[in-house]
Amino acid sequence: MSATTWSWLVLALPLAGSMVIAFGRAAMPGRVPGWIGTASIALAFACSIGALLALLDHPTDERQLTDSLYSYADAGGLEIQLGILVDPLAVYMCLVVTGISTLIHLYSLAYMDSDRGYARFFSYLNFFVFSMLLLVLAGNFVLLIVGWAFVGFASYALISFWYRRETATKAGMKAFVINVVGDIGLVFAAFFVFRELGTFDFLESFDAARDTFTVNEGVVIAICLLICVGAFAKSAQVPFHTWLPDAMEGPTPVSALIHAATMVTAGVYLIARMWPFFELGPTAADIAAFVGLATLLIAATIALAVTDLKRIIAYSTMSQIGYMIMGVAIGAYVGGLFMLLAHAFFKALLFMAAGSVIAAMANNQNIDRMSGFRRAMPFTSALLLIGCLALAAFPGTSGFFSKDEILAFAADRGGMYWIFAIGGYIGAVLTAFYAFRIGFRVVTGPPCEEAKELEQGHIHHAEPTNPATGEPEDAEVGFPGAEHHIAEREWPMKVAMAALGFGALFIGLLQVPGVDHVLSTFLAGTFEESPLFHIEPTVGDSWLGLAVGGSISVIGVLGAYVCYVRRPGVTVRLAERYRRLHAFLFNKWYFDELIDALVYRPTVATGRFANSVFERYVVDGIVAGATGLVKGAGSVVRGAQSGLVRGYALLLVGGFAALGIYFLVVAN
């Protein structure tokens, strides 16, 4: 089979899984939907490997294959094919997405077991994967936008999965609307491309762009910035990031899926996919890189202060995606995509471990309440620490090699790009610190009550409450499930976490400077023509960078060790001393409030104004004015109708007098 056929299968399987679960929901007992969902993604993964192998049969410069199912819309000069583009980048993304998703599905299979919406969950989950695959396989802008929006919708559905929680539904809405803003950006980018190049097709437009545009032409910059709007919205970059922390309202596996395999990485993929445009508009690329840098720093600082376990991980995602965006924007395509892969492993792992811990805490997510789970949950604790190590880019782990590839590249480009390298290293310190803020707070220290209970073999139970507001959950419906599932007791969770842990530790070995370069060789099929792709730091420089990065990571970890293990409480004192700074960080730099004040409130106020003033006085005023005029005239006419016959005679004679004057005037 050809690579494109495999790819169609990759697309079809998750969609089929989603539909089968949705329509057969009622007939499926127990964990059947979960198994179907997992199996379909696993098969999709297998097909992705099939596509990979098929693609590898082609010579490097012929690895961009397109195929179309049918003409989706072809009128008025706009030709839109339902077509895919299978190239190394797409296949790479497929592998990441399906691979990680398979494990997340496997984990969810057990984790979501007692939830009332079990089947619905897997249906959404499969749809999510399908959407993401559509996004990465899309061969033109329109299909890309479709996939893009589907991802947005799927995230909405999953974030507000527990839809009886008002916080969840609000968070879902936020995610969706911000994503729609991103969609609009992409739509307009597509319009610009169509206007200038006359096509929506990726490969055609890339080819045409090189012939049409000059470097840093206004249109190219506009296209790139609009693409960036889409990318930033999806990848939660400043200032479109506020939905991401709120997205933690969804079940934990959803967070894993959003943060690791799908969705947030889409922005990275998009910029990498659009490299011909970005290389023609380097100014825009630099802007994107700066945004990435800003995001990574902002998110890292916030992650230092927030106390919700999942939100810390969420901010870490933002920060890490910031690295990737920065990477692909400055041209470190392999570095960015490599980091995407590594991040997928350890972030999924972190969320799974966190999910296990939260289950043990009976849905309490406050990190301040957690402590000393190392004995109660040895497996979870071990894998949590592995995840933290990888996140902290501890030497040897996957995070280590990938992050430093980007920073070394930045340093190698020199000049202004040193800013990115230095900023990246500063971020790395913070990352290592907050990574182990999680690890140490959860694993070490005296066991908390829940941990003690678990040590006695009993999972803590509490009345289900909304972790965000503390209000009791809707008892009638009773989900999220009253039963909690921890990794220690569920083999699917264990398998999934173990596999991820393995990857988090060792996947970095795919691309070690001077040793091997599997990824860059493979991705060359996509980026071959890019001059930036061929910039490669020397092995020596790379290892120097690795050394710096490794030591920085160790410093961060040690700092965390001091603050949370050696001398616990020092952070509290720091927070009190710099109360305003802490509040600033704790409130996430007040971005929510800012957007609220700048966007939401003005819109609502406009609406209220329109409703209460404009509609009443202008729109109805037009009506009232017209009817008032007519009615007024009516009352004048009726008033003249006095019933007095002499009055009528008066008008008659008066009317004649007027008529007579007219006729005398027209007479000669």
Binding site: A75, G76, V142, A149, Y163, M173, F176, V180, D620
Partner: protein
């Protein structure tokens, strides 16, 4: 075939008047079904490549006025006809299944619905200007009675307001139509109202301008467009839901359709002259409708204002004066009709459970009614023009047209898309999600409602998978209309250049 299509609803309505009360609803439903079948046959018979009208019926009617009974379809109207027939069937069947209205007025109801059906189909098929005006106005009469007799609170005031409002425009249109024919006869020497014939003799710029304004007034009120939508809130509040479906889904389209059918081909110079004015009105409708939908709490009004916004988009597309924009507008007309119909059915279903139309007092329906929730979700997503839906393709085409002709307007219009996402989802969430309020019940959609709603949603999904179905067939005709305007534009530029 068009004759059968056109008169079957009325005939069924008349029979429904004659048969016993219990049978009348089934007679009406059968009539609507026949209409639908004919409409499907019409589409199947349609030749997408051919230019001009198809299935033409052309008889002399009022010879001394040059009025002809001239019907025909082209790529613009053929799917609007199908959509109308389908929604008419859906609404009739729905009412019949629900046995509404159950009392002695049922006969009247089905008669009026049939009459309205004939009028609406007539407006979409008429190719004689006067016939078009006649059907256009005739539509109002059954709606006046339907709302006034079967409606809710304040129905009489609401229905009177609606009819007076809309007639203000359409009576001016009548004058405009007559003036068009008479003035054209001064040029050509032959008095005719036939649109294809009138296209051959265009009026002078000055005459085109004022006549265009008269027509535009009629169409914009009907849609309705900001700021002349004053009749809409009251009418939407008072209308019974089946009637509201027809009102919102079909009647509003006649206005937009009128621009394509009449204004562009007959008044190309005026169209160019007023392009920006109309576009600004449309844009204001988009923004105003969206912002209002964003703040309404009555679910009918959310849909109502969102319709204003959607119709604004459609108008924008038409007045981009580009093939893609106008073709997208045609597609979007069908899409919007289907979606609005579905949403109103859902509103009726939900109302039966919650006894309220205020979204603040709703919620939590999804748990016990997952199928209903899923259907509604599809509708809500289509309403917000989710990429992947046909609505998206429609808006994409429209926006592309606007973008290529007036780039700034396209950017401003996009605000409407973002707001649409918000209000559509808000509507969905407030109905289906969050907690079930006290006093409301929640149960799955019934078979009778499902029988109507499910095919509608299926149609939406099907169109989403292949919007080319409509776009391809619309393209040829739309190109004709738009190129007529472009020709006039070129001519004007030529004149300027020569000077």
């Amino acid at each position: 075939m068009l004759n059968v299509l056109l008169w079957t609803p009325l005939a069924a309505g008349l029979i429904a008047l004659a048969v016993p009360r219990t049978a009348s609803r089934w007679v009406a439903a059968l009539g609507a079904l026949v209409t639908l079948v004919v409409a499907i046959a019409l589409v199947a018979d349609f030749d997408p490549a051919a230019t001009g009208l198809q299935q033409v019926v052309d008889e002399s009617w009022i010879p001394d006025l040059g009025v002809r009974y001239q019907l025909g379809v082209d790529g613009i109207s053929v799917f609007l006809v199908l959509m109308t027939a389908a929604l008419w069937f859906a609404v009739t069947l729905w009412s019949a299944l629900r046995n509404e209205p159950g009392d002695g007025r049922a006969k009247l109801y089905y008669f009026l619905v049939g009459l309205a059906g004939t009028a609406a189909l007539g407006a979409f098929t008429a190719q004689d200007l006067l016939l078009f005006v006649l059907f256009f106005d005739l539509m109002l009469i059954p709606f006046f009675f339907l709302i006034g007799t079967f409606g809710g609170l304040n129905r009489v005031a609401a229905t009177t307001k609606m009819i007076v409002f809309t007639l203000v425009g359409s009576l001016l249109m009548l004058v405009g139509a007559i003036a068009t024919a008479v003035l054209a006869s001064d040029i050509s020497g032959e008095l005719t109202f036939s649109i294809p014939a009138l296209q051959q003799t265009l009026l002078s710029d000055g005459n085109q301008a004022w006549i265009f304004c008269f027509f535009a007034a009629a169409f914009l009120v009907k849609m309705p467009a900001f700021p002349i939508h004053g009749w809409m809130p009251d009418a939407y509040r008072a209308a019974p839901l089946p009637v509201l479906i027809l009102l919102s889904a079909v009647l509003s389209k006649v206005g937009a359709y009128g621009f394509l059918r009449v204004a562009l081909p007959l008044f190309p110079d005026a169209t160019i002259e007023f392009q920006e004015v109309i576009m600004v009105i449309a844009l204001a409708s988009v923004l105003y409708g969206s912002v209002m939908a964003f703040t309404q709490t009555n679910i009918r009004l959310i849909v109502g204002y969102s319709s204003i916004a959607q119709l604004g988009f459609i108008t924008l597309g038409i007045f981009s004066l580009r093939v893609d924009g106008a073709d997208g507008a045609v597609l979007q007309m069908v899409n919007h009709a289907l979606v609005v119909a579905g949403i109103f059915i859902v509103i009726a279903i939900v109302y039966a459970r919650t006894r309220t139309e205020d979204i603040r007092e709703m919620g939590g329906q999804a748990m016990r009614a997952p199928v209903l929730a899923a259907l509604f979700l599809v509708l809500a997503l289509a309403n917000l023009a989710m990429p992947g839906s046909a609505n998206f393709i429609g808006e994409f085409y429209i926006l592309n047209g606007v973008f290529q002709s007036k780039i700034a307007l396209a950017f401003i219009a996009s605000i409407g898309i973002a707001l649409a996402a918000f209000y559509s989802l808000r509507m969905y969430q407030r109905v289906m999600h969050n907690r079930l309020p006290a006093g409301a019940e929640s149960r799955e959609i019934g078979l009778r409602d499902g029988l109507v709603l499910a095919p509608l949603v299926a149609a939406i999904v099907a169109l989403a998978l292949y919007p080319g179905l409509i776009l391809d067939r619309g393209e040829t005709s739309v190109t004709e209309k738009v190129s007529a305007v472009q020709a006039a534009d070129d001519e004007q530029e030529g004149l300027i250049a020569r000077r």
